[in-house]
Amino acid sequence: MSIRDNWRVLLLVVFLVASTFAIFAPGVGGGGEGGGADSFVAENDGPTNLQYGLELSGGTRIRAPVDGQTAYEVEVSEGERPGEVEQRVAGNVSGADAADVTARLSPNGTTVELTVGNVSQEEFGSGLEAAGYEYDRIEDGVTDETRETIVRILRDKISQAGLSGGQVQEVTTADGNNFVVIEMPNANQTEVESLVTERGQVEVVAVFPEEDNGSEYSRDPVLQQGDFNSIGQATDSPEQGPHVPLVLNDESADNFSSAMREHGFTREGVQSCRYENESTEDPGYCLYTVVDGETVYAAGMGADLARSFENGDFEQQPSFIMQTENMSEARELQIHLNAGSLPASLNMDDGTSYFLAPSLAEEFKLYSLITGIIAALAVTVAVFLRYGDPKVAAPMLVTALSEVVILLGFAAAIQLPLDLSHIAGFIAVIGTGVDDLVIIADEVMAEGEVHSSRVFRSRFRKAFWVIGAAAATTIIAMSPLAVLSLGDLQGFAIVTILGVLVGVLVTRPAYGDILRALLTSK
């Protein structure tokens, strides 16, 4: 029994030890160093380093395209700035303002994106033409740059929301559709959906009666995202109710203060906001907190604040509060202010959502483990009934199970979040694994006793032709699914392919060696 003859068994042992280490050793595979900016893996609380996906840990997954359309190769005259283009296009598309249009000038082709919903491609096209821009084509979706920005802001929003372990990714399907996938352990669907489908554009709009004509009202957006030096924690105080405290930067403090003085908020407008709801006809002097075009709160000018605008104290200490109806709105407002607004929202009408309660996920985790073990036992029983010889059957099971251990070790090492589809893949691997071992065993024992290693080797090689051929077909059959992003199918295909590879390259040759040692040692 030299090392040279048994190197395959040794290789298997090495793989098994490495896998066991990857699964159980603390701190391996990033389990102990999580929390970095790029690590968005589910929190690890079990005795192993295995990561679990949503189906086994619970949480919400949303997969949706970005709501928007893009005109490519737009002809823009030289010297024109993106801001001007955006203004002109927005002016010619009904329901759009400059914030809904993004122009990117580049020598390789200028793009103009429109990220407001329910505008048809024709309407957008005629809007562009009316604004005097020729273009090559309009396609649904947004540019890569915009999508990257969206992913970055969403990550920010999720971490602001205190939802740990959230994950945001871009996915491109085989037919060229782009999706953003958000996975959030321990969060419910509504929470996540409102985060991703709302742009989160926050502004403060001053609404006041016009001086010469009291029945006409003016709206002036006085504060926007980016006008603030610091954004405080959402708090609930007895005097002010739920609110987010803010400090304005110098320039916006000046502008805000002079706008307040000009519009009459500091004189006749003090404490004269009569806003009740959207249909209030004569609201007086109000400061609206507007999120995505919707008024969430209307506040009147306090006497103290009005005085500080008049005597210039405000510019010295430009602190301001945005009030809301309730605490959850205040928290959401804080997230929007901190993370910035999304250039476009996600379109849930073309997407999927998935929510699984953590309690059910826990059940799934335990039950699928039991299911796997029982399936392995069924294989054991079948093999023992067939061969009646523990010398053949026992190593068969050990090898088949070690394939699963190696795969689990691999999953732990690369931090693959395990889902039900992977478990199904593991069970399928036990199935194909044992199939191949049956081929080896039958072939080796086919023509009477095995006396020498030479006879053994020639028979083993014959068996291997069939195994190799079968493995190749399985890999070919599974590979389209491993690359198509089809949710459940992808995990299953990847595990099966890996299992077949590990089997053919490591475990099944090792089984051959073990069998030879057992059969020729007489």
Binding site: T173, G351, A357, R386, A424, D442, V466, A477, P480, L481
Partner: protein, 294 residues
Amino acid sequence: MVAFEVPEVDYTKYTNRQLAAVPLAVLALALLILAGWYVTTGAPVALGTEFTGGTELRVQTATPSDELSDQFDAEVVSISPVQTADDTYIVTFGPDAENVGDQARNNLQPVEGQSEDDMVKSVQGTSASFGQNTQRLALYGLGVAFAGMSVLVFLMFRTFVPSIAVVISAFSDIVIPLALMNVLGIDLSLGTVAALLMLIGYSVDSDILLNNHILRRSGDFYESTYRAMQTGVTMTVTSLSAMAVMALVAYVFGIDLLASIGIVLVMGLAADLMNTYMLNLSLLRWYKYEGVAQ
């Protein structure tokens, strides 16, 4: 000890026609079912919400099942109780349903001792257009996988009859479970598509083994067949028992994905036993004794 032995079948008693007739008749029947389904419903198989769009809600509630559908704004397509969990139902909605999770939390009665948040066990929503997309991708994946397998088989054997025999039995191995799914009322989901693909791998295993023994080994046709059968039947029966147990246990535990993968594989593997040792075998015997001679 009850040992399981692979029985030796006396193939000389049957003609090739007789042998091939049974699996071909079953295949024809399966195709007929699929065609009939296509004519009546517009799709060859019953598609799950992942492909058609819609929302599947799993709730545990004290509200009786016949009052469930009144609690939601959207139209309820179906309500089925989960066998293994008390007061738990899977409620399916059409593609237009919105916020069913919230409606469930607000309108349904929690079971005693349960918080309102805990009623909703899972919500899985797919929009119609996304479902369409998934449907196309899955079909495309299945097609590419099958074509890739066929090309590989032809490259390995380099002769027409044995190769086409493998491809036909793999095709039949997929079509028969598909038809049976319609009969048993199992919807096509991503999980069952995965199982159908796995069948390509499993079914080709035993076909390749049989072809290899008959074409590449010396020895009598029937002797080679018997040896291939001993190995091949053991393989298939082992997998079959693993999958049957998996389907049963997963069904009891209520893990639908694993249960449907298991059931489809059991049906496919059973079909494979028939196809390999009747259809494929008769084609090989014809090829060996008559096809080559011509």
